[in-house]
Each structure stands twice: as structure tokens, then as C-alpha cells.
């Protein structure tokens, strides 16, 4: 495939949605079949930005994202330090705790926490009321929103910081020790400064992710009347008639903030890329933290309880309880209070089965096709001298800075306008997810292609093989782990994605995430809970399957 064809592909996948958002923001009509919606330039749409609602939404977004990233970094960083560099008990368990919440979509986490700490009926409130303390919890608040986001984004900080801490050359610390540094001094003058880029990088990443997060904001924030930019865009699009042009204007603002943040992140990562990795086999030093081991372990277990155990218990209770309304915990222990009826009901329902099939199909296609596209792209960028390869890379990385909900809007308009009959089919969802996760796929693939010395492939060509044969005989087999990990990463991301699908699904192409979201939106909590449980099981099954094919679950990061 020549480069211009690749460029054309990326233009349709990524540039056109972006362009349509921009056009709509400056136009008085939205794109529709036969028209890209450019009917007279206007700045009218941007008036909405000065409204009280937008200012509040922007402020809320900034406050929530900043606080959630600080909290997530604290949780993730502490766990990473414990798992990578101390003599705490059960390091493998700590590591598992650090990444496990990744397998729980934030949508499901938000649902579980609204079941747990909803103002009147949350299980935790039932508990405190039962022991005479009254209602203590209300998750539908700013702190509640920040807390839930931090819980489910801490694993990103954990992965990045853990990686930096394990790759650190122990000589650097030993040198400090030999020259008279105490443990505290070593930590403050060598260890932490060396992982600063990873800490800052993860901070900015989590800021961007929480800023654009839609499901948690919608499920926790909206009932508490806390609007963020993504939920504001969603509300504008869902009002009748849809206010697409104004939504586009808000989307442009959100995107500009994220582009600025992403640019800072790239800067930080580029400028302060300390090389701490050396070729020889390394074993990082383990620090004796003495009595703090107990505190550390309690911290990890506490996090695990809040992020996984309590939410899963809540989902179980909600899907097993026979009466939809429980006002007192003792009701749950009565006869026939719990039954598997609802869970079986869900498991057999056409809605669930269709959605599960759609989700798996979309995720598998996105993983395979997305990985193939990402491989081809990385190959062009890193293995050829094609002119314009840097601009290919730029376009491929662009979706990183564009919120999924905005990309979803742009893709909706793109496939309305393009004369291909994919709108309303499952294909459009596959295309959309490939587009928004191209940066993750591309990063995974290029990291892996860079690890395979180019000489290995060139030598096959000199020895008489064609380039394609050399790639399949040498390069791809050597990249096996990296390729499989990228496939798994894309599979996971596609399984979890809600925001980008919001504007693209139809009643025939609902995904599991959509079903959970719809059920919640309609107040069908029991059904939402049981679907969520099964949703988690499907995800786990896919992960186990992919790992059996040789993927590593923790290679790379999500959005």
C-alpha cells in the first residue's frame, strides 16, 4: 500500500471528523447526507460559551480533572513504589491490585458506586442507618465524582510509575549509597527525581482522561447536578431539536484544552527523558521500609476493597435482590430476598445476547484491524524513508488530544455525509473505535518495532528475500509479544468504550456499555447491575483468551 493511500485512509478516519466538527462550530447547520453543513460562516455558536452553563461546566471539568489526577497519582504512585521498590509482603498481589481496576470499565464502577453511596438508598447508607448513624454518604457530589474517577484512573499512574521504577538502573542508587546517602536521601535525591518524568507524564495523561470522561460524569455528576464539558455536549446533542452547532463549539473548547495539555505532556516526556535503562540484566534495589510494610499493605487492600470488592458486591446484591426497592439492609437477608432469577433473566434476554455479540465482534475486529493498521503505519514511519512519514505519525496521534465524545460526534457527521452505507451498522462502530484508538495501537506497535534491530530484516533482504517475506520471516515473529499485547490492549479498550459509541449506535447495534448506560438512564438498576456483572465476565474471558495467545496485559497504556 503506497503512502498516499495510507494518508487518504487516515484523512477519512481522523481528519474528516475533526474538520466537520470545526466546520459545524462555525456554521449555522450541521452536516447531513449530501451536505457538509457549510451554510454561511458564523460566530453565533460560540455565544453559548459565555453562558452561565458553559462557564460552570468548564470550571467543574477543570476542578474535577485536577483533583482526580492528583488523587489518582497519589494512589497509583504509592502502590507502584510499594510493588516495585520495597520489601512489602506479596508484591505480586500488590501488582495485581494496582492494575486490576483497569479491567472494570469506569462506567461499571460509576454504576456500582451510585448503588453503594447513593444518597438515600445506597447500600453503605443502609448500613450506617442500620447502626443508627443516619445517611453518611452521598456520591452525587463533587468529592464523590472526584473519588470515583481517581479510583478508576489510578491504575494508569500505577503502570507508568511502576515501569519507570523497575527499569531504574540500581547502580545509580548504589552510587548514592556508597557516597554516603541515607535511605531517605537516596529516595529524595536520586529515586524520585529519576521517576519525575513518569510521574508528571502520568499526571497529565490522567488529567486529560478524566477531563474527557463521560460515563462517570454522567452517572455520578448529572444526578448531583454537576455538569462537565462532556455531559454538556451530550445534553446539547440530546435536546430536541439537537443543538449540534453549539455542541461543536463546546467540543472545540474542550479539544483546545486537551490539545494544550497533551502538548505539555509530550514536552515533559520528551525533554526529561532520563535514560535509566541499561543493557545488562538489572534487579532494582528493594528498600527495607520496616514497620511501614503493614501500613502499605493496609493501603493496598483498602484500595482494592474500594475499587473492586465493594463495587462487585454491590452489583451482585443489586442483581440478586428480588425487590427493586430496599430501604433496610435486613430486607436483604429475609427469605427469598436474593435470587438468581434476574441474572438468568438477563443472561437469556435477547438484549444482552445481541449486545454481547456486538461488543465482542466490534472489539475483535477493532483489535485485529486496528493492530494491522498500526503495524503498517509504524513500519512506514520507522522503517522507511518515505517523505511525509512524520505527518502520518502526527495524524495518527491526533485522536489522543480529541475527547472520545467529540470524535464520536465528528464520526457521526462523517459517515452521514460519506456516500457509503455504513451508518447505522456495526461497521461504523468498528471504524470509529479504530480511529479513536489508533494512537494507542500505534504506540504499542512502534515501541515494539523499535525493539527489533533493522539489521535483522535487512540481512534477510540481502540474502535474497523480498521485503515482504523478510517482514513475515523475521520482523513479525520477533515482535510477537508486542503485537499480541497491542491486540489485547485494543480489545480491552474497545470492549470498554462508551463515549464514542453514544452518537453512532442504533437499536440494532447496541453494545454492552450502551445497554448498561441505557438501563441506568431509564432507572432499571437491577438490569444494569446484572448486565454489568456479565459484562465484566465477558471482558475477563477475553483477557484470559488473549493471554493464552501470548499477550501481556500490562504493556502500554490506554488513552
Amino acid at each position: 500500500m503506497p503512502t498516499w493511500l495510507m494518508l487518504a485512509l487516515l484523512a477519512i478516519l481522523i481528519l474528516m471528523p475533526v474538520a466537520l466538527i470545526l466546520i459545524s462550530a462555525f456554521s449555522s447547520s450541521t452536516p447531513r447526507p449530501g451536505s457538509i453543513g457549510l451554510s454561511g460562516l458564523t460566530l453565533e455558536n460560540f455565544k453559548i460559551l459565555s453562558s452561565h452553563q458553559s462557564v460552570t461546566a468548564l470550571t467543574n471539568s477543570l476542578v474535577v480533572a485536577t483533583s482526580a489526577s492528583v488523587l489518582a497519582m497519589f494512589i497509583g504512585g504509592t502502590l507502584a513504589f510499594l510493588a516495585a521498590r520495597t520489601n512489602i509482603w506479596g508484591k505480586a498481589v500488590i501488582y495485581f491490585i494496582g492494575i486490576a481496576p483497569m479491567f472494570l470499565p469506569s462506567l461499571v464502577g460509576a454504576l456500582a458506586w451510585s448503588l453503594l453511596a447513593g444518597p438515600a438508598t445506597g447500600y453503605l447508607n443502609l448500613l450506617t442507618r442500620g447502626i443508627g448513624l443516619g445517611n453518611l454518604f452521598n456520591v452525587y457530589t463533587m468529592p464523590g465524582l472526584i473519588f470515583v474517577l481517581a479510583l478508576y484512573y489510578a491504575p494508569y499512574a500505577f503502570l507508568l510509575i511502576h515501569g519507570a521504577m523497575t527499569l531504574m538502573n540500581p547502580d545509580l542508587e548504589e552510587a548514592a549509597s556508597v557516597h554516603g546517602g541515607s535511605l531517605g536521601k537516596i529516595l529524595s535525591t536520586v529515586t524520585f527525581p529519576l521517576v519525575t518524568p513518569a510521574i508528571l507524564g502520568s499526571g497529565v495523561l490522567i488529567f486529560a482522561l478524566t477531563m474527557e470522561n463521560f460515563p462517570v460524569a454522567q452517572m455520578i455528576g448529572t444526578p448531583g447536578q454537576i455538569e462537565t464539558l462532556p455531559t454538556f455536549i451530550y445534553r446539547l446533542m440530546n435536546s430536541a431539536p439537537a443543538r449540534g452547532n453549539e455542541a461543536a463549539a463546546v467540543a472545540v473548547v474542550l479539544t483546545v484544552v486537551l490539545i494544550a495539555v497533551t502538548a505539555i505532556q509530550q514536552r515533559v516526556v520528551m525533554k526529561r527523558n532520563f535514560t535509566t535503562v541499561s543493557g545488562k540484566g538489572m534487579k532494582p534495589r528493594m528498600m527495607d521500609i520496616g514497620k511501614l510494610r503493614g501500613v502499605g499493605l493496609a493501603f493496598a487492600l483498602g484500595y482494592f476493597a474500594l475499587a473492586i470488592v465493594l463495587p462487585v458486591v454491590a452489583l451482585l446484591l443489586a442483581s440478586l435482590q428480588s425487590s427493586p426497592y430496599v430501604s433496610n439492609l435486613s430486607q436483604l437477608f429475609g427469605e427469598d430476598a436474593l435470587s438468581f432469577w434476574s441474572l438468568f433473566q438477563t443472561l437469556q434476554s435477547a438484549t444482552f445476547l445481541d449486545a454481547a455479540r456486538n461488543s465482542v465482534m466490534v472489539a475483535v475486529c477493532v483489535a485485529v484491524l486496528g493492530a494491522a493498521l498500526a503495524f503498517y503505519l509504524s513500519y512506514i514511519v520507522y522503517r522507511t524513508k518515505t517523505p511525509g512519514r512524520k505527518s502520518l505519525e502526527f495524524v495518527a496521534m491526533l485522536p489522543l488530544a480529541i475527547p472520545a465524545i467529540v470524535m464520536g460526534l465528528g464520526l457521526l457527521w462523517t459517515w452521514l455525509v460519506l456516500p457509503l452505507p455504513v451508518y447505522g451498522t456495526i461497521v461504523v462502530l468498528i471504524i470509529a473505535f479504530i480511529a479513536i484508538y489508533l494512537p494507542q495501537g500505534y504506540r504499542g506497535m512502534s515501541a515494539s518495532i523499535l525493539q527489533v534491530d533493522k539489521d535483522l530484516e535487512d540481512s534477510a533482504v540481502l540474502l535474497g528475500s523480498t521485503r515482504a517475506r523478510a517482514v513475515s520471516y523475521v520482523t513479525l515473529p520477533l515482535m510477537k509479544t508486542g503485537v499480541m499485547s497491542t491486540v489485547l490492549l485494543l480489545l480491552m479498550l474497545a470492549m470498554r468504550e462508551l463515549s464514542a459509541a453514544l452518537f453512532l449506535f442504533t437499536s440494532n447495534t447496541r453494545l454492552l456499555a450502551i445497554v448498561v448506560f441505557d438501563n441506568y438512564d431509564n432507572g432499571a438498576l437491577r438490569s444494569a447491575a446484572s448486565t454489568s456483572l456479565l459484562y465484566i465476565l465477558v471482558i475477563l474471558a477475553l483477557v484470559v483468551l488473549a493471554k493464552a495467545f501470548g499477550a501481556r496485559a500490562t504493556n502500554g497504556e490506554a488513552r
Binding site: D453, D455, L456, S459, V461, L463, P477
Partner: protein, 361 residues
């Protein structure tokens, strides 16, 4: 086969990596491209392999023009029948040694029997009999080198390219393989192009050496030529001449004056003039003695500031009175070594002092 490079220009972006390179390698001869890193030697070699595309010039292997910018000829790498041993060896770690070495023959669709026989023969040549079944990731550096060599030899290449073939090996293995490589090249009458930055390696492996600086050929000649008569002071420096002093003509025929000191040098060669000329004296040509020698010129007194015992030799750094520090390499046969702080006399024969331009014009 004979290999010819004519007017090769190679660009990376806007900068020339190789400029105007002309070279001819006779059938069965070896050419060593010698130079510092970044001088364009590896790029030149990669042009022969077809891994880089020059912007100008012509490359011929045997009777076949493999690249000609004017006629738009550019034969792809896999059809040039060029063998190459990469600096990293590029032995495929996920394949066995047999699979590695058999690869070029499989690409030619040869029969099973012939492949097995030729692989055995190639492995025998490099001294790896019986290694066929081993996985390539378990080999030592020297063995990887041999596998890479066998993999190229088995295809009976028109020309064999070797990129820093010995640089990843330890010193003793390097010395041994250097001799083995030279013997193999002469035995098989192979046309070889080596790239190296190590002058000792270049002298040992080459029929001819092409010295490269800044993308251009600075000097081409036999190892003896290059070693005895470097074309410039910077080439002399690269070849291990450590005593290089800027000099000026001072009016007395037959002598130069050091530019930064008041010492005079008597030389045989008295043609060069200008402000960018240098006197070059090999450390092994510097004679050190305890008493004033009876030579009439180039007699300098000084004090030993560093004496470094190297087994067969002693290397001295001597501060000349009113002059620069000069390095001397003295055989241990020439008496007990002088120590730090000893007063000594230093002399050099006028014929051992070369007056050279700083750079090749």
C-alpha cells in the same frame, strides 16, 4: 567480482553523507573503508548493498550495473547477490543456526539435499561443525559472528560486505578472527569491503585502504602507503601518530620552527609552506636517552612526566624544556625504564619527521 563506485553522492535530508566517492575493488581483493564514526564509510557500504539510495552516481558489480542515477537503474538488495555481515551480526534469534544459514539458499529455491550440503560446508568453513540444531540466541559473540559469516558465504556472494565485523568482540578473539578472516578471504578469492574505525584492523585486513573524512575519500592506497605516507596531519593523527605540532618556516633552509614554542626541527622534506602545516613524529621514532646524544640536530632536553609500562614497551610523556610535551614509545630492550621526574634527552632523525598539511585540500 570487481566492484566499481563512480561519483557516488548520498544525502540524508539536506546534508551529504557521502560526496563524490570513486572506488574500484579488483576481483578477489579487499578494500577497507576506514574513518571516524560519521565519516560516511557505513553509508558508502550500504549503497553497495542497496540499503541506501544515492542521489547520484553509478555502482557496478562484475558486469552488472546495479545502480545508475542517470539511467534510473536501481536493482533491489535481494537481487544484487551481495553478502553482508552486520555490525550487530543480525543473526535471527528466533531461528536455529541451520535455519539462519539455509535462508539464502531457500530464497533461491534450491533442493533440500543441496541446501544441507552447502550449509554444512559453510559451517565447516567458519569452524562451527555440528552447531546446526542450536538456537541462535544461545551463542557467544564470536559464534554469532561466525554464523553471520557462514550465512553470507553460503550464498556465494559477488561481493561480501563486513560492517565493523570485529568491534563487538574482546581483544584476543579479535586478533585471532582478524587473521582467520584474512585467510578465508584469500582462500576463497572473495571480493570484500570492510568498514572499520580501527586502524590496526584496517592494516591487517586490507589490500587497499580508502580513508574517509566528512563523506569524502581523503586518501586511497595500500596499507603500507597509508601508514608510511599519510596525506595530512589529521590522517596521521587518526593512524596513531600522537606527536603533531603546528610549525612555520623560519628562514633557515631545512628547518621549521614550532609555531607555539621556540624549538626548531630539522627535516629532510622542506617544500611545504603556509600557516596550516604540521610536523608529525611517531612515538616509536622518538629516541630517549640518559646522556646528550651526539646528533647535530633535533636534540632536546626534557623531563619525564609520565612513564607507563606496557610490557614489551614503555610509553613516556616527556616535557621538553621550552617546548611541548612529546610522546615516546621505547622498547624494553633499550635498557631499564626511566622514572617520573628523570632528566632525559630526546632526539628524532630528520627523516622521521613528516611535514604535512593539516587537512587534505
Amino acid at each position: 567480482m570487481k566492484v566499481t563506485l563512480e561519483n557516488i553522492d548520498l544525502k540524508y535530508g539536506d546534508t551529504y553523507a557521502v560526496k563524490g566517492v570513486n572506488a574500484e575493488i579488483e576481483d578477489g581483493h579487499s578494500l577497507v573503508l576506514l574513518g571516524k564514526s560519521g565519516c560516511g564509510k557505513t553509508s558508502t557500504m550500504r549503497c553497495i548493498a542497496g540499503l541506501e539510495t544515492p542521489v547520484r552516481g553509478r555502482i557496478t558489480i562484475g558486469d552488472q550495473v546495479v545502480f545508475d542515477s542517470e539511467k534510473n537503474i536501481n536493482i533491489p538488495s535481494h537481487k544484487r547477490n551481495v553478502g553482508m555481515v552486520f555490525q550487530s551480526y543480525a543473526v535471527w534469534p528466533h531461528r536455529t543456526i541451520f535455519e539462519n544459514v539455509a535462508f539464502p539458499l531457500q530464497m533461491k529455491n534450491l533442493g533440500k539435499k543441496e541446501i544441507t550440503d552447502r550449509v554444512d560446508e559453510a559451517l565447516h568453513l567458519v569452524g562451527l561443525d555440528g552447531f546446526q540444531k542450536r538456537g541462535a540466541s544461545l551463542l557467544s559473540g564470536g559464534q554469532m559472528q561466525r554464523v553471520a559469516l557462514a550465512r553470507s558465504l553460503v550464498m556465494r556472494p559477488s561481493v561480501l560486505l563486513l560492517d565493523e565485523p570485529l568491534s563487538n568482540l574482546d581483544a584476543r578473539l579479535r586478533d585471532r578472527l582478524r587473521i582467520e578472516l584474512r585467510a578465508l578471504q584469500q582462500k576463497l578469492n572473495l571480493t570484500c569491503v570492510y568498514v572499520t574505525h580501527d586502524q590496526g584492523e584496517a592494516l591487517a585486513l586490507a589490500d587497499r585502504i580508502a580513508l574517509m573524512q566528512n563523506g569524502k575519500l581523503a586518501q586511497v592506497g595500500s596499507p603500507g602507503d597509508i601508514y608510511e605516507n599519510p596525506a595530512s596531519a589529521s590522517i596521521a593523527d587518526f593512524l596513531g601518530v600522537t606527536n603533531i605540532f603546528p610549525v612555520l618556516k623560519n628562514g633557515h633552509p631545512g628547518t621549521y620552527k614550532m609555531a607555539e614554542h621556540r624549538l626548531e626541527l630539522t627535516t629532510v622534506d622542506y617544500t611545504l609552506d603556509g600557516d596550516a602545516i604540521k610536523a608529525c613524529i611517531r612515538p616509536e621514532d622518538v629516541i630517549v636517552s640518559g646522556q646528550r646524544p651526539d646528533a647535530d640536530s633535533n636534540n632536546w632536553a626534557g623531563e619525564v612526566s609520565v612513564a607507563s609500562y606496557q610490557g614489551s614497551n614503555v610509553r613516556y610523556l616527556i616535557e621538553l624544556d621550552g617546548g611541548p610535551a612529546i610522546e615516546a614509545l621505547v622498547s624494553r630492550r633499550d635498557g631499564p625504564p626511566a622514572g617520573k621526574g628523570n632528566r632525559v634527552w630526546v632526539t628524532a632523525s630528520p627523516s622521521d619527521i613528516q611535514i604535512l598539511p593539516a587537512e587534505v585540500a
